[in-house]
Point group: none
Chain length 222, copies 4
DNA sequence: TATGAATGAGCGTTCATTCAT
DNA sequence: CATGAATGAACGCTCATTCAT
C-alpha cells in the first residue's frame, strides 16, 4: 500500500512536481520524531534538502504544513480501507481481521503511525487540524466500522451491541498501539510486541462480539 | 474522591505550605489546556496568583514542574486503586466494574484526565517524564490489571487469555477516553457521552473475557 | 599584618559587632572568585552563614557592599605602609625592598590580592568605586612612592627621573602580579612563581634607578 | 596600522561578507565600554545597526562573540609585531623602542586597548577565553620579548638577567597603561599622559637592562 | 536583628516568518 | 523557483531588592 508521502528524497527526482511530496515526507519525519512544537522548520528544510524559505513557497505556515502532512498521509489510507470493505465478500469477522492487517501494514508499520499522536497533542491548539482529522479520518473510519458492526449484527455473526459507541471501543486499542510506539516504545525497556498485541486485540474483540448462547448469560457461558 | 491538587488558589491561604500544591494545580490546568510546549510559565504563575519568579522557588525548571504535576496527580490515584483491589472480596467482574468507576471519578471526571495526553505528547522529548510515568503509573496499573485477569482466570470466571497483553488492550479504551476528552471533545460537535462509552466498554470487555461454552466455538456460541 | 576582613566566620563569634566584618570577608571571597557581576548575593550570604536579607541590614546594595569590601580591605594596608615609610631610616633601596615584601605579605599573598582586578573591571561601571579606590588607595600609594623616589634622588642614591610617572611604572609590575594571579594563574599551566617574579622586578627597578657611569657623582655612594 | 575590526558600520555596506567584521567592531566597542557581563546583546546589535537575532547568525553565543572579538582584534597585531622583529636589523634597544611605538599605535591608541581589561576580568569565568588569549597573544609576545632580551644579552647590549621573568616585568607597564586608560582614565581627573608614561617606561627599562660599569654594581651601592 | 518568601525587571537565546536578490 | 540573510516577538530563567513576620 502506498501513500502520497515520498520516501527518503531521491536526489535524482528533483522534478518540481515532486517537491511538495518531498517536503511533506520530510515534515512528517521530523514532526513525528520531535512533535509539532519542538520541530524547527529549519530541520524540515534540511531533511528535504532545501532551505527554509522554500517551504513557504508551498505552504503558508507551520500549521498549514501540519495539515498537509495529516491530510496527505491519512486520507489515502482511509480511501483504501473503504474500497477494501466495499469489495469484501467474506465473513465480517474475517473482514475485521483483514482490516486490522491492512491498518498495520499501511499505518502501524510506517511513519504514518506517528500522526495520531501529533494530532491528539495539537488538536486543542489547532481547531482546523482537529476538524480536518476528525472529518477526513475519524468520521469516515468510524462510519466504516459502525457499518461493519451492523453488518455483523444483521447477519447474526455478532450479538447486539451499541454499534456507535462500540466502534470507538474497537478502535481504541489500535490507536493506543500507535501512540505507545511513538511515546514509550522509544525507550527499549518499554517496547512491546505488535503482533502479539494485535492477536490479543482481535481475540477479545471478536470474542466479545460473538453472540452468547441462548441458554446462557454472559457470566454463565462456561 | 479527591486529588492532591488544590483548587483555584485562595488568596488568603498564602501559607508557604500550601504554595506548592497551588502551583501544581495551576500548572496542571494550563499544561492540560495548552500542552507543555505552548504553556508559558507566566500563564501558570498568573493562574496561581504569583509571579514567574515564584515558580522557581519551588521547581527547578519547566520540565521539573511537569514531572511534579504528573507525580503529584497520578501516584495517589494509583495507590488508591491498589488499596481498593487489595480489599475487594466480590467477583472479578464486579471488581473491574468498580475499578472503572473509581477511575472515572478520580481521573476521568477531574482535571487529572489531561495528564495522559500531556505525557504521551512529551514522552519522546523528556525521557525522565516517560520513565516517571511508566514506572510510577503505567507499570503498577498494568500489574494490577494483570493480576486481576489472572484472578478471573484462576477462578474460572474468565477464559484463558494472554494476560500480559490483554491488560494493555483492556486499558486502551479508558486511556483513549481521556485523550478524546482533551482533544476532540473540546469541540462540541465531537463530544461523546462518557457513561455510554464506559457501558459499551465494560460490555464488550467482560463479554470477551467470559468463558465460551464448552461445546461451541466462538462463532457458534448459540 | 592583619586586615579588617575576618577569616572564615567562626561560629562562636556571632556577636552583632562582628557581623559586618564577617559579611565583608564572605563578600571579598566571592567577589574575588567570581567577579562582581557573576557574584550572587545569595552566595555571599551563604558563605557568611546568613540569609540574603541580612546583607541589606548592613549594606544598601551590591555596589555598596563592593565599596565596603574595597575600603575595609585596602585602606588599613595603605595606612600601614605609610607608617612603615615614616619610621624607616635605612637606604631608599632597602626601603623599597621592604615595601615590596610588606606588600606581598599583606596583599599579594592574601585574598586582598583580588581587589585590584575587581576594581579595574568595575571602575568603568561604578564611578564611586573608581573614585574611592583612587582617592583612598592609588593616590596615597602614588604619593608615597613618589616621595620615596624623590628621597632617593635627593640623596644621590637614584639618578634623576620623572618621579611622578616613574612611580606609576614602578607600581605596574606589582599590580600586574595580582591581576595575573587572579586571572591566568587560576589555570595551572599559566601559573608563575611570585618570589622569582618579585626578584626580577626589584632587580631591574633598582638597576634602572641607579646612577649611571662611574664618572658621574653618586653622592651617597662613594 | 590597521586592525581587522571595521569602524562604525556604514549603512550602505551591508554585504554579507562585511557583516561579521561590523558585528565584531560593535561588540568590541560595547564590551570595552561596559564589560562583558554588563553588555547586553541588544546594545551590540543596536550599535551594529542590526537586531539581536542577527548576531546569532554569525556567533553561537555571547561568549563566542567575546572570543571572536579577542582573536580578531589581537592576533593580527601579534603577527605584525613578530614580522617587524624578524626583519629588524638595528640595535636591540632601538628595536624595543620601535616595538613600544608599534604597540602604542596598533593597540594603545585604538579600541583594541580595551581587550586586556576584558580578558583579565573574564579569564576566571571563561577558561576558553583565558586559553585563547594566553596561547594566541600572551605566549607569542612573551616569547618574542624573551628572544629580544636574549638577543640583547648575547650582543652585550644588555646585562645578564632572568629573561623569562624579566619579559613579564617588561610587559607589565604597557598592559597597565591599557588597563588604566579603560578604568580610571575614563574620569578626567585621573587621566594620564601616555607619551610621558611611555618615555618614563623606556627610560627605566633600558637603563635597568644596560650593563653596569665594571667597578660599580648597583648591588654594591649600599 | 534576622528571615525567606515574593517580586519584577531584565537578558540570552530561539525560531517562524518575510523579502530582496 | 529558490535562497538565506534578517527580523522581531517570545519565553525560560536569573537575581538584586523588598517587606511582612
Amino acid at each position: 500500500m502506498k501513500t502520497d508521502l515520498a520516501g527518503p528524497a531521491p536526489r535524482w527526482a528533483r522534478r518540481k512536481q515532486a517537491r511538495p511530496a518531498e517536503l511533506l515526507a520530510a515534515a512528517l519525519d521530523v514532526f513525528v520524531e520531535r512533535g509539532f512544537a519542538a520541530t524547527r522548520l529549519d530541520d524540515i528544510a534540511l531533511r528535504a534538502g532545501v532551505t527554509k524559505g522554500t517551504l513557504y513557497l508551498y505552504y503558508d505556515s507551520k500549521e498549514d504544513l501540519l495539515k498537509a502532512v495529516v491530510r496527505a498521509g491519512m486520507v489515502p489510507v482511509v480511501r483504501e480501507a473503504e474500497a477494501m470493505v466495499a469489495h469484501f465478500t467474506g465473513s465480517t469477522a474475517e473482514l475485521m481481521r483483514n482490516l486490522a492487517a491492512v491498518w498495520w501494514n499501511a499505518i502501524g508499520a510506517t511513519r504514518l503511525s506517528g500522526i495520531p499522536k501529533l494530532v491528539i497533542a495539537e488538536a486543542g491548539n489547532f481547531p482546523e487540524v482537529a476538524r480536518l482529522y476528525h472529518d477526513e479520518v475519524i468520521r469516515p473510519v468510524s462510519e466504516l466500522i459502525g457499518r461493519l458492526l451492523q453488518r455483523g449484527m444483521d447477519s447474526g455473526e455478532f450479538r447486539s451491541v451499541d454499534a456507535d459507541y462500540m466502534q470507538r471501543i474497537a478502535m481504541a486499542p489500535l490507536v493506543m498501539l500507535n501512540l505507545w510506539m511513538h511515546s514509550f516504545s522509544r525507550y527499549d525497556a518499554y517496547a512491546l510486541d505488535p503482533p502479539r498485541y494485535l492477536a490479543a486485540y482481535l481475540d477479545i474483540l471478536l470474542a466479545g462480539l460473538a453472540p452468547r448462547s441462548e441458554t446462557q448469560g454472559n457470566r454463565s457461558c462456561r
